[in-house]
């Protein structure tokens, strides 16, 4: 069962071949058996999952099942789940039981899906390797010496290892697409505003976006049908109709105009990754697409601009963790300043502190214009680059990451870690959607092809990705770890 897609499992549930209880128990057993090695879950909600599964089976018996009723999923531990620990990968929130459900959680639950638990992540979604978690690093099921990517590393690893058929992630600078690429699965970052951020713990509010991580684009389409849409509780969510993302999956690609940004194929790109991506592009040509080189001239400003804007927002978003109302509080504070400083010093990890300091600095009087205002100007230029490119082509393609998954502990220097996100970060600054699909291997580790579209082009991206998956089988390959732990 673990090698089946959500689409296949849904069909099996619908035909009565499987019950949700069987399915849920199966995956819970796999987690029980294998996750000691992977560390992809922070919290497993087995009991709750089984009772939800029973409710799903009953709903089906009563003829009230929807398409995804009874499908087990996992949630990145950034989504608030009522009554369940929601840690955001931080010691700061190790004791935090969310008193409410995030909108995404509410929608998934209303659709009848089952949550198996909360997946591991870089603390407050800050990281590209999942090594910044209070709950320890997550391992890549393709190679336990490798990182799964981050920050949605737990979700990616769990899906790749067949511990859950699909999971929810969030992406602020690549946190869905890069771990999807590293773990050989499919991950979609929707347009900013397409999915509600309510109940998703904020890292950088103007960049954060939730999205599905699964084996196939088709699975992502099913999940997008559930989670996309306007939410009155999130002012930045967009009031715009949501299409049925599964309907256009099989649209033919003949005449599709693909752009290859030359800046995405430059220095620092691993040759094997480049080869895999170029091979993938050839597959598209064989499907009738035309390919041309395009330019996104401000690409090299994306990382500096991101590391001004995201930490600035984060420094403010994370001010609420002060030890006063919830979260970690130091022992026996002597006064208010002691309460603040020790609670925060003890509760936050290194990378989080680093970004709070950067953000606090860039917002300070005398620095604000030079950093924040300037970065916002750069952001507009980057967005314009994409809009200009989409005048000429339908989609952009390139690698999701310059290298395949690197070894645990390999990147000690924060800046070298930041440079990992060179192909993903600009997408968040522009607010456009992007998807990463498995496209081969480099040194035995998966390579992700990133496909970008203009604002609200999710249906097109899913169609383009699905057609590739009809023509290739990279997405169906499972790591040996998944089989050994069957």
């Amino acid at each position: 069962m673990h090698d089946k897609t959500v689409t296949q499992l849904a069909a099996a549930l619908a035909s009565g071949e499987l019950s949700s209880r069987e399915l849920t128990s199966h995956f819970l057993q796999r987690i029980e058996k294998a996750d000691g090695q992977l560390n992809s879950f922070i919290t497993v909600t087995a009991e709750q999952a089984l009772s939800q599964a029973e409710a799903a089976d009953k709903a089906r018996a009563d003829g009230k099942a929807g398409k995804l009723t009874g499908i087990p999923l996992a949630l990145k531990d950034i989504f608030c789940t009522q009554g369940v620990k929601t840690s955001c990968g931080s010691k700061m929130l190790d004791n935090f039981l969310a008193p409410y459900d995030a909108t995404v959680v509410e929608k998934l639950s209303a659709a009848g899906t089952i949550s198996l638990g909360k997946t591991n992540m870089d603390e407050f979604a800050m990281g590209s390797s999942n090594e910044n978690s209070h709950y320890g690093a997550v391992k890549n099921p393709w190679d336990l010496a490798a990182v799964p990517g981050g920050s949605s590393g737990g979700s990616a690893a769990a899906v790749a290892a067949g511990l859950v058929p699909a999971a929810m992630g969030t992406d602020t600078g690549g946190s869905i697409r890069q771990p999807a690429a590293f773990c050989g699965i499919t991950g979609l970052k929707p347009t900013y505003g397409r999915v509600s951020r309510y109940g998703m713990i904020a890292y950088a509010s103007s960049l954060d976006q939730a999205g599905p991580m699964a084996r196939t684009a088709e699975d992502c389409a099913h999940l997008m049908n559930v989670i996309a849409g306007h939410d009155v509780r999130d002012s930045t969510s967009v009031a715009r109709g949501v299409p049925d993302y599964t309907e256009t999956l099989n649209a033919p690609l003949s005449g599709l105009k693909i752009g290859l940004p030359k800046e995405y194929f430059g220095d620092g790109l691993d040759p094997e990754v480049e080869k895999a991506v170029r091979e993938a592009v050839k597959v598209y040509e064989s499907l009738g697409a035309t390919v041309r080189e395009v330019s996104l001239p401000h690409t090299h400003y994306a990382i500096p601009a991101y590391y001004v804007i995201a930490p600035a927002e984060a420094s403010s978003n994370l001010s609420r963790y002060d030890g006063v109302r919830f979260g970690h509080r130091c022992d026996a504070p002597t006064d208010l300043i002691d309460l603040y400083t020790r609670s925060r010093a003890e509760g936050f990890g290194e990378e989080v502190k680093r970004r709070i300091l950067i953000g606090t600095h860039t917002l300070s009087e005398g620095f604000f214009d030079a950093y924040y205002t300037k970065a916002q100007k750069v952001r507009r230029l980057i967005r314009q680059d994409f809009l200009d490119a989409f005048e000429d082509v339908d989609v952009l393609m390139g690698p999701a990451s310059p290298t395949p998954a690197f070894d645990l502990g390999a990147k000690k220097d924060p800046v070298s870690m930041y440079l990992q996100d060179i192909y993903t970060i600009a997408v968040n600054l522009a607010g456009i959607p992007g998807i990463s699909v498995p496209a081969g291997f480099a040194g035995g580790r998966p390579v992700g092809l990133q496909i970008l579209g203009t604002h609200f082009a999710e249906a097109q991206l899913l169609n383009v990705a699905h057609q590739f998956q009809q023509a290739t089988d990279w997405h169906l390959q499972l790591p040996a770890f998944a089989e050994e732990n069957a």
Binding site: F79, C80, T86, C88, L93, F96, A98, P99, Y100, A102, R197, Y198, G199, M200, I201, A202, A204, S205, S206, V232, R233, D234, S235, T236, A312, E313, S315, S316, L318, S319, R320, D322, V324, R325, F326, L336, Y340, T360, L363, S364, E365, F368, Y372
Partner: protein, 484 residues
């Protein structure tokens, strides 16, 4: 040296929305601590603000009322600082693009002259919670009921030159916001608070002196006292060779003094930046027109109309337009009785006196505007005389009758204007007062005028106050003079 005082005010007005500015929690005053704070107000992880449209409408109404420019786009910013009663670690406010631009307000001074005070801008923001230092045995309690209550901060230009002008400005703002119904204006409950910026400069000098900001002054009286103290302190300091430092001071009403809280060097760097959780507020012309059409007549317009159209004195017009309730009461009395001057006299005299004695506001007046108007009408049409009118008023005040007419009927206060009946009473009084008649007769003619008062009193008494005093006077004089 002659000194000139320069004052600017930042007035925080709590808007009377039903729910908070960014959440659905109630804004009602006085609930049990932390019972009116939802997940958003508590700043729980993952929550997001949603702007209350009612707060926007109220801010815009204020802007229109002070002839301000309303920018098409305004933006919320985060003001970052740590404090236990500030749950998110930032206050959502408007730093760079406020909802209300430059405008002005007319204030009326004691001598009934007016002056225009310019408003720099007004912006929307959320209030913080309250820190409670009592009853917690060395710890601090936090009540977040107030967190997220919408505030409109109105920032004036430094246009005021005395404590009296500052108080008049505060009263003008109070009157505008209560006229608009956008705030209850209750200063005791903190619905209006103000920060006062004060500096002094040698008379004739153009450059401003260094200012001190006095925080959280919460009554008209305190504003005057705080400024008076601060001006004196600054002048003394400079005259003794010292320098005023830019700082934040606190007014202590118990000791009637201001004390330093923090100097400029210790001031926070609030690290303002646009709030990424809220979209810019975009207002179109149709929306502004819609709100403009709903504006009530404002205090300055009412004052002018009371003077120009109703012929009231500047003083009367000012008093009667000071609050919307007072103005509406007066206007109803006037509508019913038809005589503005009489209506003004009764509202400011008998009614205000009675209200003050019992410490009631005009909204809670036991005598309605309709009742008072009818009462005045009965004076005007000579149904009752002035003395009886006071009795009728008292009866209505005490709830002893539905209307002036009912009281007049029940108490038999209808004025006697029948000459025959009055003559009969006069004849009786004269017959019963031989000594006084003799005294009258023996007096110098110029002293008789005064003595007639005794007889008038007796006749009025005999009529139980109902005889028409003018008639009594005339007839008495005739009859007494006939005895000479």
């Amino acid at each position: 040296m002659q000194w000139e005082t320069v004052i600017g005010l930042e007035v925080h007005v709590q808007l009377a929305t039903r729910s908070k500015i960014f959440s659905g929690a109630s804004t009602a005053f006085g609930a049990e601590p932390n019972t009116q704070a939802c997940a958003v107000d508590l700043g729980l992880p993952g929550v997001l603000p949603v702007l209350n449209e009612q707060a926007v409408a109220m801010a815009v109404q204020f802007g229109l009322a002070v002839h301000a420019e309303i920018p098409e786009v305004s933006v919320f910013d985060r003001k970052n600082y740590f404090y236990p009663d500030l749950p998110k670690g930032y206050q959502t406010s408007q730093m760079y693009h406020p909802i209300v631009g430059a405008g002005d307000v007319e204030i009326t001074l004691d001598d009934n002259t007016t002056k225009r005070i310019r408003i720099h801008h007004a912006h929307l923001e959320e209030d913080a919670g309250k820190s409670l230092h009592e009853d917690f045995h060395g710890m601090t309690g936090i009540d977040l009921n107030r967190a997220g209550t919408p505030l409109l901060e109105i920032v004036s230009e430094p246009d005021m030159r005395s404590a009296k002008e500052a108080a008049a400005y505060l009263k003008a703002i109070h009157s505008i916001v209560t006229y608009l119904g956008i705030s209850d204006g209750n200063m005791a409950e903190g619905s209006m608070r103000c920060d006062v910026n004060v500096s002094v400069r040698p008379k004739g000098q153009e450059a401003f002196g260094t200012r001190a900001e006095i925080k959280n002054v919460n009554s008209f009286r305190f504003v005057e006292r705080a400024i008076a103290f601060e001006v004196e302190r600054q002048i003394e300091l400079i005259e003794d060779g010292g320098k005023v430092v830019q700082e934040t001071r606190l007014f202590d009403p118990e000791r009637d003094e201001t004390r330093s809280m923090r100097t400029k060097e210790e001031a926070n760097d609030y690290r303002y930046f646009p709030c990424p959780d809220l979209l810019p507020v975009v207002l179109d012309q149709a929306y502004l027109d819609h709100l403009r059409n709903q504006l009530p007549e404002l205090p300055a317009d009412k004052r002018a109309r009371f003077q120009n159209e109703l012929g009231l004195s500047a003083y009367d017009a000012n008093v009667l337009s000071a609050s919307r309730e007072m103005a509406e009461f007066f206007e109803e009395v006037h509508r019913v009785c038809g005589d503005a001057k009489q209506a003004a006299n009764w509202v400011q005299g008998e009614l205000s006196g009675a209200l003050n004695r019992e410490n009631l506001s005009i909204q809670n007046s036991p005598v309605s505007a309709q009742q008072l108007g009818e009462l005045i009408r009965r004076v005007l049409d000579d149904t009752i005389n002035g003395k009886a009118a006071k009795q009728v008023f008292q009866a209505l005040w005490n709830g002893q009758g539905e209307s002036a007419d009912a009281v007049i009927e029940a108490k038999g206060l209808k004025q006697v204007t029948d000459t025959g009946a009055i003559e009969a009473m006069i004849d009786q009084v004269i017959a019963e007062s031989p000594a006084q008649v003799a005294q009258y007769r023996d007096s110098e003619p110029e002293k008789r005028g005064k003595m007639i008062g005794y007889f008038v009193g007796q006749v009025m008494k005999a009529s139980r106050g109902t005889a028409n005093p003018q008639q009594v006077n005339g007839l008495l004089k005739e009859k007494l003079d006939a005895l000479l």
